[in-house]
């Protein structure tokens, strides 16, 4: 066991995957010699050579286009998009190409070996363009998987599974947590299952759902709620697509209440999908409306970042409102 932060855990996973399989290659802006602007790819070029870990020109549509081709050829590219805010130029390559590659060819060709890594989320005074959480866009794209870890242990295990999955995976890293704290991470090679939620805390009055950096917001809010006598069950979704409907719904059937929290704007955010499924599957068990505590329907602001964020206080308020509905 080593004590690593999330960034180091990602770096460990990359080393592990490249060590184990020659066809794994890392590419993206500044990922080479420099090791990436966050240093997630540190020492990969030094260890595995420039051919397997390389800088690309500054063109996200090209990064994913190139990676699609490389994956189609049989390699396992891990393409980094420097910030999730800059993934949109690659949207066409992801939505129309990556996601449909296997289906449109009847399984003849696939880019299943592709993993896209990208740091996402706010809380770092990044303003409109270094704070976005675009997971909901990708949750509406059949054919890709979307995975988000919440701590170093999850990061390593889920990233290794993502790299080795037979389907293309968008792996989103909560950059606010990159160096926020350290956790125990096994030195060995291990994988965590995709498509499965993780029960973080047992509780009986309400089910709280989030992913990535917002899980700790739920924990903080739950702590506060507990001091008001409310027992919260906390679930980290981990996989946004496909997502673990069963775990969530079973929990809501038990608690009778549900709250979902994400940083992205409310309207059309992924909480809406969860709410739509939960109200349908758990209709007779719901004792209060499902609450969504999310970002505002505005671009991500700078000076008002604190006010914009679905923080622990807002979550706590919504818990209490839901419980006392």
């Amino acid at each position: 066991m080593a004590q690593l932060n999330l960034l180091q855990a990602v770096n460990h996973a990359l080393h592990t995957a490249m060590e184990a399989d020659d066809s794994v290659m890392v590419m993206g802006e500044d990922v080479g010699h420099f090791g990436g602007v966050f240093r997630a790819t540190s020492n990969l070029q030094k260890t595995f050579g420039k051919a397997r870990c390389f800088n690309t020109p500054l063109v996200e549509q090209g990064i994913i286009g190139f990676a699609n081709g490389l994956a189609a050829q049989g390699a396992k590219p891990i393409a980094e998009i420097q910030f999730a805010d800059y993934i949109y130029p690659a949207f066409d390559q992801i939505v129309n190409e990556t996601a449909k590659f296997r289906y449109r060819s009847g399984g003849q060709f696939t880019v299943g070996g592709l993993t896209i890594r990208t740091p996402y989320g706010g809380g770092i005074a990044g303003g409109h363009y270094h704070s976005q959480s675009p997971e909901a866009f990708f949750a509406h794209v059949p054919g890709i998987k979307v995975v988000i870890p919440r701590n170093p242990y999850q990061a390593k295990g889920l990233l290794l599974s993502s790299i080795r999955a037979s389907d293309p995976v968008l792996f989103m890293e909560p950059k606010r947590l990159y160096r926020a704290s350290v956790g125990e991470v096994p030195e060995m090679d291990y994988e965590l299952p995709l498509g499965k939620a993780d029960l973080v805390q047992n509780g009986s009055d309400i089910t709280l759902v989030a992913w990535g950096a917002q899980v700790e917001i739920l924990q903080e809010a739950a702590q506060k709620a507990l001091s008001h006598g409310v027992s919260c069950e906390i679930i980290d979704l981990q996989s946004i697509l496909p997502w673990d409907r069963e775990t969530i719904c079973q929990s809501v059937i038990k608690t009778g209440r549900c709250l979902i929290n994400h940083e992205a704007p409310l309207t059309g955010g992924f909480a809406s999908e969860i709410a739509a499924v939960v109200q349908s599957e758990c209709f007779l068990h719901l004792e209060a409306p499902i609450a969504r505590v999310c970002g505002l329907d505005t671009p991500y602001p700078l000076a008002h970042e604190k006010e914009y964020m679905p923080d622990a206080l807002k979550t706590f308020e919504a818990i209490m409102q839901t419980v006392h509905f």
């Binding site: 066809s23 290659m25 010699h33 602007v37 966050f38 240093r39 540190s42 020492n43 051919a51 397997r52 390389f54 690309t56 020109p57 063109v59 549509q61 090209g62 994913i64 286009g65 190139f66 990676a67 699609n68 081709g69 490389l70 994956a71 189609a72 050829q73 049989g74 390699a75 590219p77 130029p89 066409d92 390559q93 129309n96 190409e97 449909k100 296997r102 289906y103 449109r104 060819s105 009847g106 399984g107 003849q108 060709f109 696939t110 299943g112 770092i124 005074a125 990044g126 270094h130 059949p142 054919g143 998987k145 037979s166 389907d167 950059k175 990159y178 160096r179 498509g195 496909p242 409907r245």
Partner: protein, 419 residues
Amino acid sequence: MSDVMESEASNMHNVICDRDHMAQITSTQAVTLVDKQSTSMPMLQLLNPTGELLNEQYKNAWDKKIALKLFYAMHFTRILDERMVAAQRQGRISFYLACTGEEAAIVGATAGVEMRDMIMTQYREQGALVYRGFSATQFMNQMFSNALDPNKGRQMPIHYGDKELNFMTVSSPLGTQIPQAAGFAYGQKMAGQDAITLCFFGEGAASEGDFHAGLNMAAVLECPCIFLCRNNGYAISTPANEQFKGDGIASRGVGYGVHTIRVDGNDALAMYVATKEARRFSLKNNRPVLIEAMTYRLAAHSTSDDPSGYRSRDEEIVWREKDPIMRMHRYLQQVGWLDEKDLDGYISKTRSDLLAAVKYAENQSVAPLTEIVTDVYKDIEPHLQDQLNALRAHVENYPESYPNTAHPIASDNQTGGPK
């Protein structure tokens, strides 16, 4: 921001050598705006329109066998196009897209690479499949969207794909295959394969950002691939002079540091020779090459299009006279390689093969209902299994409303069919 993006360069021990991004640059002391006349991109032509060889030096650059294979494949393509345009008019298929006038560019280039090379196309390159041996039945299974289509009937007609023939499945969004070709070629290089990727696209698609990405990345990352632009003068109704103002697409190659050659796309042998040389250069040096094939889309854009809305008959006539099949025909006659009787036999056999294949393919059932959810992921994920179950129950409930999947037509032959 500061802490998360902070550099931890202290652990970098290796010496970084000095760079000079201006090492190759000379200076001047007078203001001159450089315009496009500064480059010159002549067009390679080996046969003139009457089929005469223009440079004796190349007379052994091909042999009879390859010349005839090329020529017959061009004919097959022309006949296929005629047949399918008619089939679309009869309402037998929903859509078709012909490459009439551009057969030399496509077939010539395909002949210039090896079967083990990957071909990625736009959609107007059925000639490449013909040259590689895709059968009449294979074409028809795709176009009739039946269960024998390797795509399982999921895509519109003309979206061919064949793994065995190293022909990547066609995708409608324009230009997306260009950076993919660079990546595929990089993979071939890394896997130590003696193979390259040949990537076709139109001069319209070359306006997409993906073109820029693909060419630049291939140059920087040293990918063994050939980018082949069919400059056929039109992108649907948009003429080339509303598409770009530079000297075609070739003049862009130089800007990327990509070796470039412009070729008469109606000269099958020039295309063959240029592509062969491009392949040799590309594979030997791990470098991309850009070929611009100057040609003309004699066909409508597709069966949904009527070019009389945007171009003149006279203009078409000029180009009809530059017919690539005719040019090759004259050349073959001149060198005495043409057996007219054999050609006539091939043409009528091709016609009847195609007719039989149409009849066969249109009688095949569509793929079974399960295939609506397979291949989205490697395995059918639970939510898709649920959706399939619900759909199946629904279809069984209303069989008359979903006749294709409720009562699958028993297929007499699931793998074969006429050749």
